[in-house]
């Protein structure tokens, strides 16, 4: 069956010949790789935002291009929606896309442009704290003009002020905020009081899930081993990851998930899990047995933040948008639909008019008691991100 070296005599170019040629090309490629060719190495991606500013054409071009997460705004097609009202009030037409599905994915999508001072054709992007912190440290984000966003500085709720990575709100404005805690299905199991219990209670074996978002899960693991997530050492981290490794090896954890834990919780595949507050409120509408509690270790508080990327052409319009959503009434309308924590002071009072049933919901307007137990994850260096995330993924199978 093996053909002769001349390759079957079918006009010179046999399959084997092609294979050889292919091998030759591959060999040439590898030999080229052995030489030092120009596109070797990758330049640092840190830039200076002052060098990557575009001329602001907001005054002449009444336009604003926004990328946000899915289902994170009240339905924009309705003429009474917050977005439509903004357009009517300002005359700015908003090009709103929900194309942010994952912080890391979005980072991968824009890093080549932003890392080399090129435009990503957006005026505003919404990313979670740690990714916002990372982009700010890479110099990819434009500072906001303080005078143009008075509502932000006047109305931002206390717990979101003075965060380590941008204490003066120079670069970011929280869009919505949320809590990470424990959810459980009261029809299937008794109350789960602490994270420790979630990880060890024998009848929960194989019936719990944790979040694949490293900072959420590891924040709690650090708490479990007695460290402080807002300020921890490499040793603390090693303890926490070892503990997580043991828990996974014991078969306690069914899966590490994104939002999809909520379907598993409703279907009964898991009976308790680490969960995000807004998801749980939405699930409670269908299944009142699903409960959200603050574990004894505390609650992790996070926010998704509006950022103006380098070379945005409509920064002034973006600032108008920020200021508009920091007006308590608009914030209340948004919160009534999104169900995450509203970052705006005064929105609670405004909510009386919008939807009185939500006014006393501590997962939308957290009381001081809830906020007293929240913690924050410390900003990581690029080195730590690679090392920690690598270890975390090894344990979680991410």
């Amino acid at each position: 069956m093996v053909q002769g070296p001349t390759g079957g005599g079918r006009g010179g170019l046999s399959r084997r010949g092609l294979l050889k040629a292919g091998g030759g090309v591959a060999f040439a490629g590898v030999s080229l790789a052995a030489l030092n060719l120009p596109f070797f190495g990758v330049d640092p991606r840190k830039v200076n935002p002052a060098d990557c500013r575009a001329t602001d054409v907001s005054a002449s071009q009444k336009k604003l291009i926004i990328s946000n997460w899915p289902a994170y705004i009240d339905p924009i097609k309705k003429p009474t929606s917050t977005l439509r009202v903004f357009e009517d009030q300002t005359g700015i037409s908003v090009d709103y896309t929900d194309d942010v599905n994952d912080n890391n994915e979005f980072y991968a999508k824009v890093k080549n442009q932003l890392g080399s001072c090129q435009t990503i054709n957006r005026d505003m992007i919404v990313l979670t704290d740690w990714m916002a912190a990372r982009m700010i440290s890479l110099g990819w984000i434009q500072p906001l003009d303080k005078g143009s966003v008075p509502n932000l500085h006047a109305n931002l709720i206390k717990p979101l002020q003075g965060r380590q990575w941008d204490p003066d709100l120079t670069f970011h404005a929280p869009w919505q905020s949320g809590l990470t805690g424990i959810a459980y299905n009261a029809a299937k199991t008794g109350e789960v009081k602490s994270f420790e219990e979630l990880l060890t209670r024998p009848e929960l074996n194989g019936k719990i899930s944790l979040l694949s978002e490293m900072r959420d899960t590891m924040g709690f693991m650090l708490k479990v081993v007695g460290a402080n997530p807002s300020d921890f050492t490499d040793d603390d981290w090693a303890n926490a990851i070892d503990r997580l490794r043991e828990v996974v090896a014991s078969g306690q954890v069914r899966a590490f998930t994104g939002n999809e834990y909520i379907q598993d919780l409703a279907a009964g595949n898991i009976v308790a899990c680490e969960a995000w507050s807004g998801d749980v409120i939405q699930a409670q509408f269908d299944n009142p047995d699903i409960k959200f509690i603050a574990p004894e270790e505390g609650l992790s508080l996070w926010s998704d933040n509006m950022l103006v990327p380098n070379l945005a052409e409509h920064q002034a319009n973006a600032e108008k948008w920020i200021d508009y959503y920091y007006d308590p009434e608009n914030a209340a309308k948004l919160a009534a639909w999104v169900n995450y924590i509203c970052p705006v002071n005064g929105a609670k009072e405004a909510m009386e008019k919008v939807d009185p049933s939500l006014v006393d919901n501590v997962l939308i307007f957290p009381d001081d008691e809830t906020l007293a137990v929240t913690f924050d994850f410390m900003p990581l260096s690029e080195k730590q991100i690679t090392a920690y995330q690598g270890e975390f993924d090894d344990v979680t199978g991410g």
């Binding site: 069956m1 093996v2 053909q3 399959r15 084997r16 294979l19 090309v25 591959a26 490629g29 590898v30 080229l32 790789a33 030092n36 060719l37 596109f39 070797f40 190495g41 990758v42 330049d43 640092p44 991606r45 840190k46 890391n104 994915e105 991968a108 890093k111 890392g115 440290s137 890479l138 194989g206 490293m214 996974v248 078969g251 954890v253 069914r254 899966a255 590490f256 279907a267 009964g268 595949n269 690029e382 080195k383 991100i385 690679t386 995330q389 690598g390 993924d393 090894d394 344990v395 979680t396 199978g397 991410g398």
Partner: protein, 286 residues
């Protein structure tokens, strides 16, 4: 006359140009950049950039850290391919020889799952295998599974998912080569006193080998690299190599390790395929 021959000869090469350019641009260059990335200094980062230091140790480090998911992927891929072959052969045989006028309909049914997305199909397996679902309850009832046994988050679910998802890739080439078999050869074998069993192994099986080889390749190669099934149907203990590479690239930003692992996987698969094709004696398939 010799003029026209030469013309015709060069036309062939001109026709090659678009394809070769396409491959050069979208295969050779990325491959080159992948190999290059795998030799970068592993201490680099987006902040400081990556330097080319010909750090061959990346390969050793990657193998040392990730040999488990690598071996697991090869094992799951091989098992899924085996099950696909067992299921697919019977099905393809039935369609080719016994389906009669239902042939086309059955072929359409084989392809029908492709009308919905891969992800949706795998997610629906999650429903089928759910702890409170019909399948698990039945298996518990007949004591194949213990009373708190489960299928989701086990290797069984992952291999079953892989088998299901790649079955059409096995059935179609098998069907194509079984359908081509001349029925008179099988009749002849029984005229020569071969019982159906011997007839199958002496006539049908060897003649369907090209389909078997291309079917197993089309199943094994994507199955080894797949990670959706392991992620949705398995637990962290069923992690496959595709998900390691993906998370190293997108989450951990450890590009050198991810690239080294990709090259290792590629070399392993190409090596195994070459070996397999030689053993099967079907090189002319390539």
């Amino acid at each position: 006359m010799s003029e026209t021959v030469r013309k015709r000869g060069s036309t062939g090469y001109f026709l090659l140009i678009p394809g070769v350019l396409w491959l050069a641009l979208f295969f050779v260059v990325p491959l080159y950049s992948l190999v290059a990335t795998s030799l970068f200094d592993p201490s680099g980062s987006d902040l400081n950039g990556y330097e080319m230091t010909y750090h061959w140790a990346n390969y050793w480090d990657a193998l040392q850290s990730y040999w488990q998911p690598l071996v697991r992927s090869l094992a799951y891929g091989a098992l899924a391919t085996l099950f696909c072959l067992l299921l697919g052969y019977v099905l393809a045989y039935a369609i080719a020889f016994k389906a009669g006028r239902w042939k086309n309909l059955m072929l359409v049914l084989v392809i029908a799952p492709f009308f919905t997305s891969f992800l949706v199909r795998t997610l629906s397996w999650k429903l089928l295998l759910a702890d409170d679902g019909f399948i698990v309850n039945t298996l518990q009832f007949v004591h194949i599974l213990g009373s708190d046994g489960r299928l989701l988050a086990t290797p069984v679910a992952v291999i079953a998912g892989l088998t299901y998802n790649f079955l059409p890739f096995m059935v179609l080439p098998l069907y194509a080569s079984i359908d081509k078999i001349d029925g008179r050869l099988i009749e002849a074998s029984s005229d020569l006193y071969a019982n159906p069993f011997v007839g199958f192994f002496k006539v049908t099986w060897p003649l369907s080998l090209p389909g078997v080889v291309s079917g197993t390749l089309l199943t094994f190669i994507p199955a080894v690299g797949d990670y959706i099934n392991a992620q949705l149907l398995g637990s962290p203990n069923q992690r496959m190599i595709g998900s390691v590479i993906q998370s190293l690239f997108t989450d951990a930003n450890d590009y050198p390790a991810a690239a080294a692992l990709s090259v290792i996987l590629m070399v392993l698969i190409v090596g195994m395929v070459l070996f397999y094709v030689r053993r099967a004696g079907t090189e002319d398939l390539l």
